[in-house]
């Protein structure tokens, strides 16, 4: 259904596993399975999901409040109810779901996950609670051309990268050229703009799209498939047998009473309500929230980034060799690794030792990252101040601290102001990466709106405009201060 892990996630997983190993080995490995007991003691069942996949899970605005709804959510609610505990829903990128349960961020992950053999190696699965089946979406204008799967021979077919659909289209459609993309919303857009001829997709998702968009039609895949590899199951941390068994009891009931049909119908109702008004203005609250978080993260990270940067830069000029070495290693390491990996590492890796919420993790990672870049900029600025300034100050008897504070740093900051400004602007843009751990910044909200409205381009355009407004406003503010400093000498 959805993606497998990406290489990056695996790096993080390895790092997290190393962390976990060191932590666990000091406490001795406890063989006893306390997974169910812990949930009951806590009184809460924590689940993670990626709410951009209607009708499985998606975000709606119900009575003015954001809510995650869908078939999977109803399944989880039933499970929680049967366990007599409260359901807590956390949301993050699909890529991160399995990592989240492995690192103990949640008790279970649900999100139309196929219990494939590969995944079974790293997590435990419940019984399958739903089998959707495969289908293709095509443009309505092509109904005569593509009457059935047979007509797709040699066609351009799209599918989510790393999914079952992707592999099936490659193997079973003769001569097809298969194009992979990350988000189903992007794929639908590619279909509608005729970049692809058909889109391999889960039946319930396809049905949802067709219901909401008359320009799309669905044809059945005709694949004969092993049910075990196509159904959706709930994922748990390895060794959670007691919890899995308890959940399986609920799933047995769901299947016996065919509750998923009811759940799907309910999800469909939300989608109808939800797609009546797909104007971007209707979603202004989503965007506003995204902007709010993006600004919050940027401000906090700029502040701490500069603080860390100044400290690191001064360390570079210290007499102590080890302080210099530490600052150099830190800067080189941060600059040599992608921000995305750092964000994942802080959230999942450090998260094994202390559980830091996603927003704070994001801020920490972005601040640590920015600090390294700011340090380099400040160092350059300090070096750019003429040597004669130091000599003049020293000949007057000023101490090293006063020399830095009154003479060097003010001049350095003036010289580096444009470079610092660029750093702040790129921080606003690059902070968007925190959406992968479920921080509701502008990018995250953008994807929610896209999944919600079935409109591919407009939300992107709005987000682009909002980013531009933010960076442009900041540029003006920075220019204002630059002008002021120019005036002073």
């Amino acid at each position: 259904m959805k993606k497998n892990f990406k290489a990056i996630i695996q790096i993080i997983l390895m790092a997290a596993a190393m962390f976990a190993l060191t932590v666990v080995s000091t406490n001795h490995v406890s063989a006893a399975d306390t997974s169910l007991q812990r949930v009951k003691q806590r009184g809460e069942l924590i689940m993670v999901t990626s709410p951009d996949y209607p009708p499985y899970e998606f975000q709606v605005n119900k009575h003015g409040k954001d809510q995650i709804v869908g078939m999977d959510i109803d399944v989880a609610k039933k499970v929680a109810k049967d366990l007599h505990v409260k359901l807590v829903i956390k949301s993050m990128n699909f890529d991160s779901l399995l990592v989240a349960i492995q690192t103990g961020k949640a008790d279970m992950a649900i999100g139309g996950i196929n219990p494939t053999a590969a995944r079974r190696q790293s997590v435990d699965f419940s019984k399958i609670y739903y089998t959707g089946g495969q289908s293709f979406l095509i443009n309505s204008s092509d109904v005569n051309k593509y009457k059935s799967v047979k007509n797709l021979k040699g066609a351009k077919i799209g599918a989510q990268t790393g999914t079952l659909q992707y592999g099936l289209a490659k193997k079973r459609i003769p001569n097809a050229s298969v194009k992979g993309m990350d988000k189903s919303t992007d794929l639908v857009l590619a279909l509608k703009t005729h970049k692809i001829d058909a889109l391999g997709i889960e039946k319930p998702s396809a049905e949802a799209y067709v219901k909401n968009d008359p320009s799309l039609k669905m044809i059945p895949s005709g694949y004969s498939l092993n049910k075990n590899e196509t159904g959706a199951a709930i994922a748990f941390k390895k060794g959670s047998t007691s919890l899995v068994n308890a959940v399986n009891k609920s799933i047995d009931q769901i299947k016996a009473k065919d509750l998923t049909s009811q759940y799907l119908a309910d999800a469909g109702k939300y989608m109808k309500v939800n797609t009546v008004n797909t104007s971007m203005f209707h979603y202004w609250k989503y965007f506003a929230k995204g902007v709010e978080y993006t600004i919050l993260i940027s401000i906090v990270s700029t502040f701490f980034g500069v603080l860390i940067g100044v400290v690191l830069a001064l360390m570079r000029f210290s007499k102590q060799k080890w302080l210099r070495g530490l600052a150099i290693s830190y800067t080189e390491f941060i600059r040599g690794t992608p921000l995305m990996v750092q964000v994942l590492f802080v959230y999942f890796g450090i998260g094994v030792v202390v559980n830091i919420p996603a927003l704070i993790s994001g801020m920490i990672a972005v601040s640590l990252n920015s600090g390294a870049y700011v340090a380099e900029i400040i160092r350059g600025g300090i070096n750019s101040v003429a040597k004669g300034q130091t000599e003049a100050a020293e000949s007057l008897g000023l101490s090293k601290g006063d020399l830095m504070r009154f003479v060097i740093l003010p001049q350095a900051f003036k010289n580096i102001w444009p470079a610092l400004g660029n750093e702040f602007i790129s921080l606003i843009k690059e902070s968007s990466i925190v959406s992968i751990i479920g921080v509701t910044d502008l990018i995250y909200q953008l994807n929610i709106v896209r999944a919600d409205t079935y409109r591919g381009v407009m939300p992107i355009f709005v987000a682009m405009l909002l980013y531009f407004i933010m960076t442009f406003a900041l540029t003006r503010v920075l220019n204002h201060f630059e002008g002021k400093m120019k005036h002073a000498g």
Partner: protein, 249 residues
């Protein structure tokens, strides 16, 4: 009192890597004396001057300031002694991020812990003395070279130093501005300030210097009263060098 030794240099040597710039420098500067140092480019005049307040650390030898060997004191003492020696640079080195008056007040307030209004009084008095009181609130970049150098002299004087070191204070100036700076230095000398001046301004040297030292090849090759040294040099290198600067004038 006239005989009190302010500076005393014994067997001073300075190497940059394997490059020995100062080989064996000896000399004494007494209270109220004005010494002019001349010599060809690269002779080590700046290096010598910078060794006097330890902006440059000597490789060997002693630099005594009022009897204390500066090469043997810790960082804190050094800073204490340094504040009593003023230095004026070829390139002025005013702090561009501060106004003229702030340039003057910074060290008295931060180093001598002077009160702001007292520092203000001292600074205004000195600016008046160098003829720049009306520029108190200007930034250095808006001043001419001559004005900047006069501010730099006032800034050094604000610490009330016992000796002033000048490193070619007029050689970065347009010719028409040299006079105003020399005039300030001239007055300073006449008021009895002890001064070591690296300069090729013969007129100035002849008028105020008690002694001129000719430096080359890492040594002071000749020292004498200015008139004697300029008009009748004994050392061959000095003869050659003075011939050249007279030609250039």
């Amino acid at each position: 009192m006239q005989d009190k030794k302010i500076l005393e240099v014994n067997h001073l040597s300075k190497k940059f890597g394997n490059n020995e710039i100062l080989k064996d420098i000896n000399g004494t500067v007494k209270s109220g004396e004005v010494i002019c140092v001349i010599g060809p480019s690269g002779a080590g005049k700046s290096t010598f001057l910078r060794c006097l307040n330890l902006l440059e650390k000597p490789t060997a030898g002693e630099v005594k300031f009022e009897g204390t060997d500066l090469t043997n004191v810790d960082e804190k003492q050094l800073i204490n002694l340094r504040e009593r020696m003023g230095m004026v640079f070829q390139s002025f080195n005013l702090f561009p991020n501060m106004t003229v008056i702030e340039n003057l007040k910074l060290a008295p307030i931060r180093v001598k812990h002077m009160k702001d209004d007292e520092a203000q009084k001292v600074a205004m008095h000195l600016l008046d003395r160098v003829g720049l009181a009306e520029k108190a609130n200007a930034y250095p970049s808006s001043l001419s070279g001559g004005q900047q150098q006069r501010v730099a002299i006032a800034r050094a004087l604000a610490m009330n130093p016992e000796v002033m070191l000048f490193d070619e204070p007029t050689s970065a100036l347009d010719p028409e501005m040299v006079g105003e700076v020399l005039e300030v230095m001239n007055e300073l000398a006449k008021e009895g300030m002890t001064m070591v001046v690296v300069t090729h301004e013969m007129g100035f040297a002849k008028e105020v210097a008690d002694e001129v030292w000719f430096m080359a090849d890492g040594y002071i090759l000749e020292r004498n009263k200015p008139v004697e040294l300029f008009d009748n040099p004994q050392n061959e290198r000095a003869k050659d060098f003075i011939g050249k600067i007279i030609q250039n004038v």
